[in-house]
């Protein structure tokens, strides 16, 4: 037994350069082992709970995954199902507080943006995220009909990413000037980029940089 374990032992103390046959090859393996270390996808695990099953039963194929990562649960839906899921969670499961709406830009993906809703339930003391991936041309439905607070949150997402929410009552820019061109939080918008025409006309300077 002890002899069988020895071949596995040497890689840990490799400083001695090949006192035994076959040893010089050993220092190499750790390097390939280190290279594939960063996984390309998030190591999320399936989220098993009554709520997850209820949502799946209710929406069927429209809910593509219910997962959990670092102890936080999220539901991945088809783009058209995000707002119905919000509505369902609010009415049936007590998720009556929409914490946040935001987006993440993945320019290399076909469905470019991740739209993320964070909801919280006071009676359950539980927080859930709803995620949906949408292409650039897609206009997701507004959530203002479900949660009033979505109004400004969606305006900010529109302002920063250029995602147009269909049916939003007042979709104007909120943080940037109203006639600014471009959407700053997109990945192809450089950090020193600016709307030069706007800067010239409104600030009377050649450049804000």
């Amino acid at each position: 037994m002890a002899d069988e374990q020895k071949p596995e032992g040497p890689p840990a103390p490799p400083p001695k350069p090949g006192p035994a046959a076959g040893q010089p090859a050993k220092p190499a393996p750790p390097k390939p082992a280190a290279a594939p270390k960063p996984p390309a996808v998030m190591a999320a695990t399936p989220w098993e709970s009554e709520l997850a099953r209820d949502v799946k039963d209710q929406f069927g194929d429209a809910v593509t995954a219910t997962s959990t990562y670092v102890g936080q649960s999220f539901i991945v839906t088809r783009p058209d199902a995000a707002v119905p899921v919000l509505d369902y969670l609010k009415l049936e499961a007590g998720f009556d507080y929409l914490v946040d709406i935001t987006a993440v830009d993945w320019p290399k993906r076909a469905a470019r943006f991740d739209l993320v809703y964070v909801v919280y339930s006071f009676p359950r003391n539980e927080r859930v995220r709803i995620k949906t991936a949408i292409p650039e041309s897609y206009q997701p439905a507004t959530a203002v009909g479900v949660h009033l607070t979505a109004n400004w949150l969606e305006r900010e997402v529109f302002d920063m990413f250029g995602i147009v929410f269909a049916g939003h009552p007042d979709l104007r820019r909120i943080l940037m000037p109203e006639d600014w061109q471009g959407y700053p939080l997109r990945k192809d918008y450089s950090i020193i980029q600016q709307d030069e025409r706007w800067v010239r006309e409104n600030l009377s300077i050649e450049s804000g940089q």
Partner: protein, 370 residues
């Protein structure tokens, strides 16, 4: 007679701000008035927009840490705590007990400093000149402790991802205890000036009412939610940084008006002292930094972590692509979300109450605009 003169019109559009002393920064509110009645409002914000979330994507995880202090600059310690906790969640590390205790002390001290600035300026808006001097006097003592601890008074950068950079200084515990002993009688003093003051009560009672259901609908959190009778505080609901170890109350009131929010914030300052006293009594021995490498490189993933900041729920949604820089950092700012309820609170009220309501929202424009 001409068909219509300006005297015929019943509505007047009035611009307030962005340079206006009672908007607490650069907030611009367009008011639609009928005589003294407010018929509608529109908030124009963004004057202080610095693109904090964009900056995050161009800095390393650790480099971005000081930037968060510049959002809610009167509660910089809370901002830093939220960000550190979020990245620690991604890294799956926890700050050691000693660091957690120091974090709690400094965060609660910052809650007091933030509430004091609110109280002073709010009272000033209403017309009570005196409290602001008292409030700034006590706030100074709190800021001195920050200065002694980390060299900065306002934008402190007090915490690091994984724990603390600095060990507490000689006499830290004594100074915190002295502050606690000194401060409680001062709260009585403020209350003596204001709580039963007839002008104060008349100006605040029944103004800017938001009930519990409306608060949830608008996502309003913090003292405003608790003043509306919802007993909810993230420090109790989802404890972080060891808050579960401390014994404290969540002050609530029922009416959800400006006066009740005042009472709730006053009570919160007393509770903050209570927490600090417990925390400073038994700061555990041990390391102040968790197992975090020199290079912070969280695995691919995302997390949403939120804390009870003085203004409400302050959340960080962080996304890592496994690189040295954050792929995305989204800040869920309590001031921004709470400000949205302004229209609901002032519509139908008097124009003079708009100032009282902006004060009671306790917004910091640096956080609204980011």
């Amino acid at each position: 007679m001409p068909d219509s003169t300006f005297l015929d019109s019943t509505e007047l559009v009035l611009n307030m701000g962005p340079q206006h002393p009672s908007t607490h920064g650069v907030l611009r509110v367009i008011l639609k008035l009928d005589g003294e009645k407010v018929r509608g409002t529109d908030c124009i914000i963004g004057y202080l927009h610095r693109g904090v979330e964009k900056i995050a994507e161009n800095r390393t995880w650790a480099q971005f840490n000081p930037y968060v202090d510049r959002m809610d600059y009167v509660a910089a310690v809370s901002n830093g705590l939220g960000y550190c906790l979020a990245v620690e969640k991604l890294l799956n590390v926890e700050a050691p007990p000693r660091a957690q205790a120091v974090r709690v002390i400094l965060t609660e001290l910052n809650r007091i400093a933030s509430h004091l600035l609110w109280l002073g300026t709010h009272a000033l808006d209403i017309g009570a000149i005196t409290p602001v001097f008292y409030c700034l006097r006590e706030r100074e003592e709190a800021l001195k402790i920050f200065e002694n601890y980390c060299g900065a008074r306002l934008t402190t950068h007090a915490f690091r991802i994984g724990g603390l950079q600095y060990e507490i200084y000689e006499g830290f515990e004594r100074e915190v205890k002295t502050f606690c002993d000194m401060f409680l009688p001062k709260v009585d003093e403020y209350e003596e000036l204001l709580t039963n003051n007839r002008i104060w009560v008349n100006r605040l009672k029944g103004v800017g009412v938001l009930n519990g259901e409306e608060c949830k609908e608008y996502g309003v959190t913090g003292p405003m939610l608790r003043a509306a009778g919802v007993k909810w505080d993230l420090r109790k609901a989802q404890p972080y940084s060891g808050y579960e170890k401390y014994d404290f109350e969540i002050p609530t009131r029922q009416n959800g008006d400006t006066y009740d929010r005042y009472i709730v914030r006053m009570q919160e300052m007393r509770q903050a002292v209570r927490i600090m006293r417990q925390a400073v009594e038994g700061i555990p021995e041990g390391p102040i930094m968790g197992k975090v490498g020199k290079v912070i490189k969280p695995p691919v993933g995302e997390a949403y972590v939120s804390i009870e900041a003085p203004k409400g729920e302050l959340g960080y949604y962080v996304v890592s692509d496994g690189g040295l820089q954050p792929y995305r950092v989204r800040v869920r700012p309590p001031s921004f979300v709470n400000l949205q309820a302004l229209d609901k609170m002032v519509r139908g009220g008097l124009v003079a109450d708009v100032v009282a309501v902006i004060g009671t929202l306790d917004i910091v424009l640096g956080e609204v605009d980011r």
